[in-house]
């Protein structure tokens, strides 16, 4: 390890932070545009070309908005909670490889911030910490809707985390490593989605539930809970929950791409381009689901997680293990 390594790492950290800060407005714009067209509307079109700057304008507006901390709230936790959501999402992104290694000035630079041998476990651990941001935010507001929303949300997230974790174990079985860089490298000829299609399905469903997205956006069921855990939040703190949600979508998509969809592998185009194409398609899929499915009822949601996905993921693991052994 040397100074060059530290500078290189810091540069990559800033690139990823910049990518998230620029990427999230773009995803939000894409979501509004796609949803608009799917519902036979046009979507944002006034601010900038094709309405591209709409989300930037919204961001600036939020920045200047009144920053309310309710009188009865637990002030420290209330301010800390949205920060936890954003920080954990950003930290989880550090181990996802977004491209093959490149040579810059005679130096080989791997295109992920950190190459650790427990990368997959690290992502799961970090995203689990994200639950704290939501449950603490709901609790600290000291208001009824946020409390219920926060409880629901945390129960949902921990329930689907089980199936998500076990569906990933099946790929670890095939790969024999937890390093995401190595898992990505192994898929040069065959993507793990082929032998693990069932595992991929379980992962995608639980990943969508993990990020509280439609049709699993129960915490934000506005007809019953106003806005769920962030009812009392305003200004930049509210924007942080928003940013955290989209950054978490990037994490879930990034893991799905790296573990199941061949990572940055692809013909002709450079590896980073392939990663970005797959990321865009996966996020488009997220939006497509939102436009297609109605929201589940809470008991259906919990029942589905515990009674269908969890046994299915265990079954998938046993079958995979048996096939690998024989």
């Amino acid at each position: 390890m040397d100074i060059a390594f530290l500078i290189e790492s810091l540069a990559k950290v800033l690139i990823v932070l910049g990518f998230v800060l620029l990427g999230v407005p773009l995803i939000v714009w894409m979501e509004r545009k796609v949803l608009g067209h799917m519902q036979d509307r046009i979507g944002p079109e006034r601010v900038g070309p094709f309405g591209l700057l709409q989300t930037i304008a919204d961001g600036i507006k939020l920045f200047m908005k009144e920053d309310l901390v309710p009188a009865q709230a637990d002030k420290v936790v209330f301010i800390l909670a949205p920060a936890i959501t954003v920080i954990t999402a950003l930290v989880a992104l550090t181990v996802i490889p977004w491209g093959d290694q490149v040579t810059i000035l005679g130096r080989t630079v791997p295109l992920h911030i950190a190459d650790v041998n427990v990368a997959l476990l690290f992502v799961l651990a970090t995203t689990s910490m994200g639950v704290y941001g939501i449950v603490l935010g709901g609790w600290a507001s000291n208001s009824k809707y946020p409390l219920l929303g926060g409880l629901r949300s945390s129960a949902q997230m921990i329930s689907y985390e089980l199936a998500q974790g076990i569906s990933l174990v099946s790929v670890v079985l095939l790969a024999g490593t937890l390093s995401l860089a190595q898992i990505a490298r192994q898929q040069a000829h065959m993507w793990y989605v082929v032998p693990q299609f069932f595992g991929f399905l379980i992962y995608v469903i639980s990943g969508i539930a993990e990020t509280n997205r439609a049709p699993f956006d129960l915490p934000e069921a506005e007809t019953e809970l106003v806005a769920g855990f962030h009812t009392e939040y305003s200004s930049m703190k509210w924007a942080f929950y928003f940013l955290g949600e989209y950054a978490n979508m990037m994490v879930v998509s990034g893991i799905a791409i790296t573990v199941f969809l061949g990572g940055w592998h692809g013909p002709v185009l450079p590896s980073v381009a392939w990663f970005l194409i797959k990321l865009t398609l996966f996020l488009f899929f997220y939006i497509w689901l939102r436009a297609t499915f109605p929201r589940l009822r809470y008991d259906q949601l919990m029942g589905f997680g515990w009674k269908v996905l969890l046994p299915a993921s265990l079954l998938n693991l046993v079958v995979t293990a048996a096939v690998v052994a024989l």
Partner: protein, 125 residues
Amino acid sequence: MSPVDPNSTAAFIPILMMVVVATVFAGGTIAASHFLGRRVNTPAKLMPYECGITPVGTARDRFHTRFYLVAMLFIVFDIETVFLYPWAVVYRQLALFGLIEMVVFIAILLAGLVYVWAKGALEWD
């Protein structure tokens, strides 16, 4: 190969950098919006939101035991999931022994799931 051994503690230094950068970014942004935004606080505005009416009772109330139950079940199953990871990594070296051991382990896990299911712990109505 990356310049730093993925097995060493040094491989985590870039992650630590991200933790610091993300914390500074989050703290800075929240502080900036705190000073930029205009604030006119009135007692009514600082009340908890309850669809416009005066809040009734307290939010620090009891909530349903189901949530505790889910949390407890989660801890049990999550710890067992964590046990599966090291097993999966060395699975090819363990061969048949690993398969039998893990089938027994997962069978116990499934028996637990069937038990809580039969007890009605997974019902939400």
